[in-house]
């Protein structure tokens, strides 16, 4: 999937200014940036929620989106939530099994803990027959252990499903852990692109100190913009 010269304005304010990038199947593209850089706007454009100028080719037929909040229907069970989003019944049980959440299938989403809801929201993106998976800071509210588990889960599903994924975060370590390509967004423009070495599993942070420092230096030079 190719994005060409994506522009987005709110009145006079330019949020995205000529963003071009390529998304590959089975690969995770991570977008880093400070608050107000345009990260979530880019995701929402890919999700079909916002109008834009530029070209996206081909347009994804179906998108899986892991929001910052769980956004589950509390009065539906876990299985019903996954079905609601268009999850294929034959995939749902398999996916829940793989994630170790089969026991939650018939529980009402409103009765789950915060961590369980995040896991279900993540699984929802992988139960539908999506061309593209978008993840918007999905692990920000989690403790270290849960975060590592969820990153591993996301890695497994994306790689085994051959999905293209865009992962937004402001956490350098998360980016280094699972991304194939890291883009740094600043004032609506891509200011840095880094390709990380191939890996068979989520990378350990400590082994990529040079890449981490490079990204940190780039991030330090970016500006923090007010939210729209």
């Amino acid at each position: 999937m190719r994005l060409n010269n994506i522009q987005k304005r709110y009145g006079e304010k330019v949020v995205l200014d000529g963003v071009s990038l390529e998304l590959r199947e089975g690969e995770i593209t991570c977008i880093l940036g400070r608050s107000g850089a345009g990260k979530t706007t880019l995701l929402n454009i890919l999700a079909g929620l916002l109008p834009y100028e530029g070209e996206i080719f081909p347009m994804p037929k179906k998108v899986g989106y892991v929001f910052q909040e769980s956004r589950l229907l509390p009065y539906l069970t876990v299985r019903e939530n996954l079905l609601y989003a268009g999850g294929k019944p034959e995939w749902i049980d398999e996916t829940l099994q793989k994630a170790g959440l089969a026991a939650l299938a018939d529980r009402k989403a409103g009765s789950l803990s915060g961590g369980e809801k995040r896991r279900v929201a993540l699984l929802r993106a992988f139960c539908v027959d999506a061309d593209l998976v978008l993840l918007d800071e999905p692990f920000s509210a989690l403790d270290t252990v849960s975060k590592a588990q969820m990153l591993g889960l996301a890695w497994d599903f994306i790689r085994s499903g051959g999905l293209a994924a865009v992962f937004v975060t402001h956490d350098l370590d998360e980016a280094i852990s699972i991304a194939d390509t890291v883009l740094v967004l600043d004032e609506g423009k891509i200011v840095h692109t880094m390709r990380l070495p191939a890996a068979k599993e989520p990378r350990e942070y400590g082994k990529y100190a040079k890449e981490r420092q490079q990204l940190l230096d780039v991030m330090k030079n970016t500006k923090e913009l007010g939210r729209i």
Partner: protein, 257 residues
């Protein structure tokens, strides 16, 4: 001891008992059965009414009219609320109309409707239903529109992203989200409808109606009977509201269990 003072039923019963005590004190102060009958005379009159077969027919007729007015207002209110939700221009168009209906002096409107009804030879049973419907419509429309507008925007956005069909959104998101609030308002409106219809029947002197019987009792100085009819209507209104609220709560609890 503290638990008793937190018990809702106990406190509500205390409240009602206070009202009755106030009634007794007022009766003793007024000392005129044609102005304010005693609670025991009222209870006797109520007992006599409950022993008459005709009373139940008349009560059913009034309840039927109250229910009809409620249903008409509900169908119109919800239907227009859905259109207003989908088309913001229509919602802005309706705002003025709803404001006028909300502010309309009910009894004055009833008098106009009665005049029109007598001129056109319309059934005497219709004006109370019309006035009931007109008064309830803005309440139910506003409740339905608020319920729809109150559906979680994040869930709606999620539904858009996942391309959830509209029929599924209506069944799984809109109805479960909007119905509890609408039901609660609906229960209050149904109870209010009874009060409205009876008031309209009194003014219109509708035959075969509780309001009509009240007017007859009033004209015949049967004040105890009039008060008894009032108390019965009051009690019915409370029962409708309590039963309705309990049913809605039971449904909500079952849904989230």
């Amino acid at each position: 001891m503290k638990k008793i003072f937190k018990n809702t039923i106990f406190l509500s019963v205390c409240g009602l008992a206070t009202l009755i005590v106030a009634w007794v004190i007022a009766y003793l102060a007024v000392q005129d059965d044609y102005v304010l009958p005693s609670p025991w005379a009222t209870a006797q009159a109520a007992w006599a009414l409950l022993g008459k077969g005709a009373f139940y027919l008349v009560l059913l007729a009034t309840l039927g009219r109250a229910f009809l007015a409620f249903v008409i207002a509900l169908v119109l209110g919800v239907g227009l609320a859905v259109i207003a939700y989908l088309y913001p221009s229509f919602e802005r168009f309706l705002r003025g109309i709803v404001a006028v209906l909300r502010a309309l002096p009910t009894m004055a409107a009833l008098l106009l409707i009665l005049l029109a009804a007598s001129k056109w030879g319309v059934s005497e049973y219709l004006p109370p239903v019309v006035i009931g419907g007109l008064t309830l419509f803005p309440l139910l429309y506003t409740a339905a529109y608020s319920a729809l507008s109150g559906v979680d925007k994040d869930l709606l956005e999620m539904s858009r992203v996942y391309r959830v069909p509209l029929s599924v959104q209506i069944k799984r998101l809109y109805l479960p989200s909007a119905l509890p609030a609408l039901c609660r308002e609906g229960v209050a409106a149904l109870s209010f409808s009874l009060k409205l219809i009876v008031s309209a029947e009194v003014l219109a002197f509708t035959s075969q109606s509780i309001g009509g019987w009240m007017q007859t009792a009033n004209l015949g100085y049967e004040i105890a009977e009039m008060t008894a009819l009032t108390a019965i209507v009051c009690l019915l209104g409370i029962l409708i509201e309590v039963a309705g609220v309990w049913l809605v709560k039971a449904w909500e609890d079952r849904r989230c269990a």
